[in-house]
C-alpha cells in the first residue's frame, strides 16, 4: 500500500468521523475519540438502523458513493475503517 493511498484513506476516515459526529449528532463522541476501527452498530458507536439510512444518504451526498444493497453492504457497514475503505476505493478506483 503506497503512502499516498494511506494518506488518502486517513483523510476519508477523518471526513467520515466528522460527518458521523456532526450529522448524526453523536453527543458522546468527537472526531478524536472515535477510533479508526470503531465498530458502527451494536457496539462501538452503537448506531441503529435509523442511522444506517442516514449514513447511506450522507455518503451519497458528500462523496457520491453508494453502499451496495447486499451482503457486501453489511461488511462495509462494520466499522469506520471498512466504511472509509469503501469510500476511498470508489473515489480512487485505480488504487485498489
Amino acid at each position: 500500500m503506497t503512502q499516498d493511498k494511506e494518506q488518502g484513506l486517513a483523510e476519508v476516515r477523518e471526513k467520515i468521523k466528522k460527518l458521523l459526529v456532526e450529522e448524526l449528532a453523536l453527543e458522546d463522541w468527537t472526531v478524536e475519540t472515535i477510533a479508526d476501527d470503531e465498530i458502527l452498530f451494536g457496539q462501538g458507536l452503537e448506531l441503529d438502523s435509523l442511522d444506517a439510512v442516514e449514513i447511506v444518504v450522507l455518503l451519497q451526498r458528500h462523496f457520491k458513493v453508494d453502499i451496495p444493497d447486499n451482503e457486501m453492504g453489511r461488511e462495509i457497514f462494520y466499522s469506520v475503517d471498512t466504511l472509509a475503505r469503501h469510500v476511498h476505493k470508489n473515489l480512487n478506483p485505480g488504487d485498489s
Binding site: 449528532a25 438502523s49 444506517a52 439510512v53 449514513i55 447511506v56 444518504v57 444493497d69
Partner: protein, 322 residues
C-alpha cells in the same frame, strides 16, 4: 384488495402469506367483464365472496377486528354483514383493476392535492415518499399518478414482486412503475434512498408490517401497529411524505386523495423515537378519517391491533444495519 401486490395476501398461522386469487380466476373475471360488463362481474363477485365469508376464516377474523372497532355498537350479524361488504368491495376492486388494465374501459378520477405534489416536485430534482394503505384501489391511484412524469418505485416483499410484475406487464403505466425488494440488506432502504435522489417516487405501504421496525399509534380507539420505514427514509433523505389514499365513489368514479403531506425532520437525536411516533400517529389519524368516509373499502386482512399492547421496539431495533 392488496394495494401493492395485485392479489390479496393473507397471513396464515405461521406468518406466511397466501394469495387469494390466481391467473385462472382473473381470466374468468376478465371474460365475465367482456360478456356482461362491469355490473355483471360485480354480480358474480357477490357469489364468490359468499364462499370467502364462509370458508376464509383468517380473513373474516382479521376483518372482524376492524369492523368491531369501526362499528362498536353493532351486533354479530351486522358485523358479519360488514365483513361481507368489505369482501365484496375488494372483489369489485379486483374487477375494476382488470377492467382498467385490460383496456376495456377507464374510470373517472377526482384527485385532491395533485397541484401541491406537482409543485414540490418542480421545486426540487429529488423525489417523494408516497405512503399508501389498503384503502380503495391501487391501479386507480397509480393511474392518477401517471400524470406525473416520475417513475414510481413500490417497496415490497419479494414474494409479491412476481405478482406485481404480472400486473405491471399489462398496465398502461407499467414502464413507469418498478419495484424494490424488502429482502435486501437494510430492507431496500438503500435503493429507496437512491430512487429519491434520482427524483423518483417511492411508494411504501403504511398499514401492514412485515419486519421488525414498527411503531404503535392510536386508531379507532385502540393502539395498533404501523411500519415506520416511510418516515425514517423521509427523515434521512429530507423528503416529504405524501399520504396516498383512494376510494370508490360510484361504479365508474374514484376519489384519490394526495392532499396530506407529512414533513419529517428529527428535532434531536434523542427525540427520534418521539418524532417517529408523532408522524405515525399523524398518518393513523388521516387513515382513520379517510377510512371513515369509505368504511367498507379498507381491506385490512390482518389484525393491526394484535400485539400492539406490547412495547413497540425502538426504531432501529432489529434493523438491518445493526
Amino acid at each position: 384488495m392488496e394495494s401493492h401486490p395485485p392479489m390479496t395476501t393473507r397471513a396464515d398461522a405461521t406468518g406466511r402469506h397466501r394469495k387469494r386469487g390466481n391467473r385462472l380466476g382473473f381470466w374468468f373475471f376478465k371474460a365475465t367483464i367482456r360478456l356482461f360488463g362491469l355490473r355483471g362481474a360485480y354480480g358474480l363477485v357477490h357469489l364468490v365472496c359468499l364462499h370467502y365469508l364462509f370458508f376464509d376464516r383468517q380473513s373474516v377474523e382479521a376483518t372482524m377486528a376492524y369492523i368491531r372497532r369501526r362499528f362498536p355498537g353493532r351486533g354479530y350479524m351486522a358485523r358479519i354483514l360488514g365483513v361481507y361488504r368489505i369482501l365484496v368491495n375488494q372483489g369489485k376492486s379486483l374487477v375494476d383493476r382488470y377492467y382498467l388494465i385490460s383496456g376495456l374501459g377507464t374510470f373517472e378520477y377526482e384527485v385532491q392535492g395533485y397541484d401541491e405534489i406537482k409543485r414540490i416536485l418542480k421545486d426540487s430534482d429529488k423525489g417523494l415518499v408516497l405512503l399508501t394503505a389498503h384503502v380503495g384501489n391501487w391501479q386507480v391511484t397509480m393511474n392518477s399518478l401517471g400524470r406525473l412524469d416520475n417513475t414510481v418505485r413500490l417497496l415490497m416483499r419479494p414474494e409479491d414482486n412476481a405478482a406485481v410484475k404480472e400486473t405491471l406487464d399489462v398496465y398502461p403505466h407499467g414502464d413507469k412503475v418498478k419495484t424494490i425488494s424488502t429482502a435486501s440488506f437494510m430492507g431496500g432502504m438503500i435503493e429507496c434512498a437512491k430512487a429519491l435522489d434520482n427524483g423518483e417516487l417511492v411508494s411504501i405501504m403504511g398499514d401492514r408490517i412485515y419486519g421488525a421496525d414498527w411503531t404503535t399509534a392510536r386508531i379507532l380507539g385502540a393502539e395498533a401497529r404501523f411500519p415506520h420505514a416511510a418516515f425514517t427514509l423521509a427523515a434521512a433523505t429530507e423528503r416529504p411524505v405524501v399520504v396516498v389514499l383512494s376510494g370508490k365513489i360510484s361504479t365508474k368514479k374514484y376519489s384519490v386523495d394526495l392532499s396530506h403531506i407529512i414533513r419529517t425532520r428529527y428535532t434531536s437525536r434523542k427525540d427520534r423515537q418521539k418524532d417517529i411516533e408523532k408522524w405515525v400517529q399523524e398518518y393513523a389519524t388521516i387513515l382513520e378519517e379517510y377510512s371513515g368516509e369509505y368504511p367498507y373499502q379498507w381491506y385490512l386482512f390482518h389484525d393491526i391491533w394484535a400485539g400492539a399492547e406490547r412495547q413497540a421496539p425502538p426504531p432501529g431495533h432489529g434493523g438491518d444495519g445493526s
